[in-house]
Symmetry: C2
Amino acid sequence: MTESPGAHPAEPAHPTGNDLHLDLPATGGRRAALMAALREAIRSGRLAPGTRLPPYRALAADLGLARNTAAEAYTELVAEGWLTARQGSGTTVAERAAPAPSARARRPAPRPGPVHDLRQGRPDAASFPRTAWLAAGRRALTAAPNEAFGPGDPQGRRELRAALAEYLARARGVRTDPDRIVVCSGFAHALRLLFDGAAPGLVPAERGPLAVEAYGLGFHRGLLAAAGVGTVPLPVDEQGARVEELARHPEVRTVLLTPAHQFPTGGPLHAGRRAAVVDWARGHGGLVLEDDYDGEFRYDRQPVGAVQGLDPDRVLYLGSVSKSLTPALRLGWMVLPDHLVDRVLATKGEREGWVSALDQLTLAEFIDSGGYDRHVRRMRRRYRDRRDQLVAALAEHAPHIGVSGIAAGLHAVLRLAPGTERSVLKAAAYRGLAVDGLADYRHPAAAPETVPAVDGLVVGYATPPDHAYPSAVRALCDILPPPV
Amino acid sequence: MTESPGAHPAEPAHPTGNDLHLDLPATGGRRAALMAALREAIRSGRLAPGTRLPPYRALAADLGLARNTAAEAYTELVAEGWLTARQGSGTTVAERAAPAPSARARRPAPRPGPVHDLRQGRPDAASFPRTAWLAAGRRALTAAPNEAFGPGDPQGRRELRAALAEYLARARGVRTDPDRIVVCSGFAHALRLLFDGAAPGLVPAERGPLAVEAYGLGFHRGLLAAAGVGTVPLPVDEQGARVEELARHPEVRTVLLTPAHQFPTGGPLHAGRRAAVVDWARGHGGLVLEDDYDGEFRYDRQPVGAVQGLDPDRVLYLGSVSKSLTPALRLGWMVLPDHLVDRVLATKGEREGWVSALDQLTLAEFIDSGGYDRHVRRMRRRYRDRRDQLVAALAEHAPHIGVSGIAAGLHAVLRLAPGTERSVLKAAAYRGLAVDGLADYRHPAAAPETVPAVDGLVVGYATPPDHAYPSAVRALCDILPPPV
């Protein structure tokens, strides 16, 4: 690096590399810009390994930079391994094969969504209360203590657990205090915390398989299977899961139910069965997992309270904002029997936060200020209207189709003639209508003699935005088979 | 239920239960309030199982309610299993033992924190940029498409991945595109996604143990151990990890390093070693995990760029906002070699979001608008000032104590005379000063002959709020041993 600036225009372009052209942005740090440009030139292969760079003074003169700016950039890039400096031979691009350009093809563009979307499981994304949520966030974050921005409590923010304890008692009949609530990312995370084989699990060793409803979410069964937990199907009828069948499975200690609104068939668990499953848990050292996935949305009467309220030591209550507000927050909660709190926290670990404390504070404020109740009431009216539109359209265009599960929730079940479900789904696909068949929800181990197969459609009426809903309902009516 | 309202004041109080007093709130839904009050009375044991309730008309008259309000409340509570209705015998509290009151003692109140907190690993929680963050959130959520409030992409919001790709290239020399970034909850979540035994893992089966720095975070080793991944310690000197030792461990295919700022000893990985470890990975089909936990905070010169930029197909880059902004967001990222993207997404699962999409959108806007850069620059100045105060105080009060690792990051290492670390830590505890000893970070399998034990303190200077920092530094100077 003894050459003078004036020497370089006369030298050969390569391999001494004096002809190096770099486009630096007009503003910003000069040294950083030079380093970025050099890195990019090396990455792109324009400067091959072994290429000799111009002396820093020459480069500085070329680019109109201060000499020490160029010198520092070289020094830094040597420190980073991009360049090599050897006494007497100047500065060269480090001797290492430039990595091949990324071989990974761009992921294919996401397929366009269906023309009409009546899949269950999602609230209307267009109805998220942006303004009210932002206002709650502003109040919450402005008032938050500084420690809220520190590492935080894996159990969840105290503010949110207090708000939930009050809300769940009031709205869902849940009996708890904030100390028994653990905040998590939602139902899947809760299952993981309860059953993760890598850590002390739930009733370990002698836990046995889990009893689940014979119609339910395959995603949940998959999560359990991935955690090494087998499942036994309980028959489901219009009064919910036939919990008396638990007597036939002495190896079962835990049962997962959707008491407020059986998923997907739609009825609430009958009062006698609510009592019976709690009695079973008491008599057998068992545990009921209560998945209250859409308990807020009941249209024709007051919501059925949570089974958890009957015995908080035998029923583990699981909820989230995924249906009531948005799945985008990834925010849920477990209300645990006393004796499981420390075990779940031990599985979670002392440092596992997972859920944004900022969102937790915002939700606490949203609940405490009444914004959550207002939103739920607003959405209840809106979803009830949609349900009514669906029922009216079916009454007009397909009065022979039975509809059930419509007293609550975000979906209805349309019963089809035996053996017709697959052809109806095919017709829906041709029409660009996304809708699920009941068969998708059937437990693969359900025996036909105890759990009769039922043909039907699970119609989610919450998913489309308002403007797209009427045409989706029309498309549904179009593909329903005529009376036989 | 044939008695008339007028009859009940003359009847015996119990067990007919006509004397039931319930305090209903003055406002709100009457039926819901009555149901809540009855549930609470049953829960609390005030209404024992078998207790006969007053006829609904009597109760309605007592409480000034419409009769059908009381009748509906009874019907609902029967449906929920709280009450039993039998023709001719009226309505009674259901025959089931009231659950015992919660036996779980309240968790002990959190212990008060230390008087002085110089533990490493946390940014100053008081410096979170609340106003700028809220403003970014407002812009982001107002502009977001509706689908942002839907289920979302487990890989992370496109907006955030695009912002990160640009930012990491510019500020950290990372070479990526948004398709190779996976958003996660932070380093622990990333390790879990890479090594979780329950799902297709990283270089499975023939993966072998992971090489880690002989001084590092025990928390990380613990996470790896929980996932069934063994670790092999690499010696560390003032030039970072001695990666040439990898040649002695042919069973190792993966190495976890902190190249920008060895944790906790504090030096950057030497240029020759940066090149050597990439060459090792290329020659051995290996993979480098680059933990860039505090790469933004370098005080005395330009940050050392990421090793990932040398070979994006051999280096997996891990970062988060936990040091630069706040650990409360639980937001980090993985920049993956092409061939691992689909595998990590398969482990994550089609529905595992985990990270709040709302926070992701806000961070994308915070980065794109320059707010993140401004915050990092502001904190860099603040932490550098703190470091300078620490160094000046030590020069004045304990000039015999060597200080290292001070060119970057949020902590410094104070070297102590051999055999004195434990007694110094004890003195710190007596003084109410929380600070870590180097021994806490030493790999338990590190052999004394290859990894000499070093006595020292790891002093985090970012943790306390500004007003508490000078006294914490004074307390530190007080407990340092005099020259021997």
